[in-house]
Amino acid sequence: MSISVQQLSKTYGEQKAVDAISFEVKKGEILGFLGPNGAGKSTTMKMLTGYLPPSSGTALLNKLDIVSQPLEVKRCVGYLPENNPLYYDMYVKEFLAFIHQIHLPGDKQMQKNIQQAIELVGLQAEQHKKIGQLSKGYKQRVGLAQALLHHPDILILDEPTTGLDPNQLADIRQLIKDLGKEKTIIFSTHIMQEVEAVCDRVIIISKGRLVADDRPGNLQSRLSGSVAVEVEFAAPASADALRQLELVHRIDTHSETHFTLHGKDSIQLRKDLFAWAVSQHNPLLTIKQETKSLEDIFQQLTANAAR
């Protein structure tokens, strides 16, 4: 196990920011960390990177304990903090050299490592500028370069894609995916498509508690107890007639010919619909199962926890 979190908790006064979270991440896995604002994502990451000590519980990163071996943990972790704080009055290379010096003082590979990191995140064109002069997307790349510089086994990225334009988003996602082939990555986000596109596994936390821990695909099927099927007929059909179908619970009528049926057992429901349409001599134009998106799952899970 590359990362093993055990009953990790953080309490501020009366408030439990993180409440006994446990999970494990295998080497080479990309873990998406989801949750509404204030759910405890950042606090968890701050604890894993040794910025905040946990109130109770602990975590092992590369078999190193965050409580008793904080310096060793920091050596094998690359961290991109939330809001990507950087020294704006430093030059890109000067800043990367500074971080490199801290990790590996006097290392002869420094220039090579810096150049490698710059190329990896695509900063070549901007490498001679001051950080303060860069656009948000490029600042984000500097933050990523900083996290990658010392070749850490584990990357912890707190909202690495906020504020990027769609092209930059795609680039950074691809980068995270590529990095995930050899490194263990935890990253937090608000964007569901990102999770589907990038992550091997998703953890959803809400109010400091872990409410889901699964593959993105499994999460969808686990929660799809009820299905929705959108149908469109060539000729007007009556909603009442459709309601007679055994598996249908509820019908949304969009127009005389266009409905959404809610019911159980998507396959049987669609077979029945087809048979019904044939018996009515009313050709089917559309029949489409609506899958529950991760957004719905997220809302459902976090709303349950709120209650």
């Binding site: 040794g50 905040l52 050596r75 972790v77 950087l86 430093m90």
Partner: protein, 242 residues
Amino acid sequence: MRAILQKEINLFFSSLIAYISMSVFFIVMGLNLFVFEGNIPDSQYATLDSFFTLAPWVLIFLIPAITMRTFADERQSGTLELLSTQPVTDTQIVLGKYLATLLLWLFTFLPTLLYFVAVKQLSLTEAPIDSGATWGSYIGLFFLGAVFAAIGIFASSVTGNQIVAFLAGVFMCYLMYDAFFRISSLPVFSGQLDYLIQAAGLNAHYDSISRGVVDTRDIIYFLSVIALFLIATRTALESRKW
């Protein structure tokens, strides 16, 4: 720690901070010695006394101005989190920043040795000016600046606002330098207590070294005050962990 020291030094010298601090101190003190009322050519006394009387008051403002951004700025911009999640201890961060400030203070301090040379040249009498006392005063002044730097860094570590850090730094420097002396001269304390209260302030030890006797007790006093404020700074950084 070396990386942090180097970064801070680079920052001082790549911005105007270093040059302004060096020139302000050198020019203000030079004007006071040679141009303004009561200057050496007018008064006909080849002595640096007025320099050593005024310098602490200038430093009370100058050093907190140098140190005010050390931690306040990092706290404000969030880079303190970046720095704290690198493999360095809080002690190394504090020491790196302190040593950088100390070096800048050394660079600000060294040019004023020229005044000593100048005054020596001005002296007409066969007997040169009291070199012992002057060297003592220079040593005392250096330590005074070193203490102010520790105080200024501490003030910067407790807030995210640079102006608050500056004002708090000035106030604490003043307290440590002058307030103990003022309080000790209140009639209530006349007798035994006044000496003790005086000895707690910087003023008494600065004066003591200025007489030309470098007493280990004074040096130990200065070093302890520096250590005290640096430990307090580290505690302020660690307060996030409470």
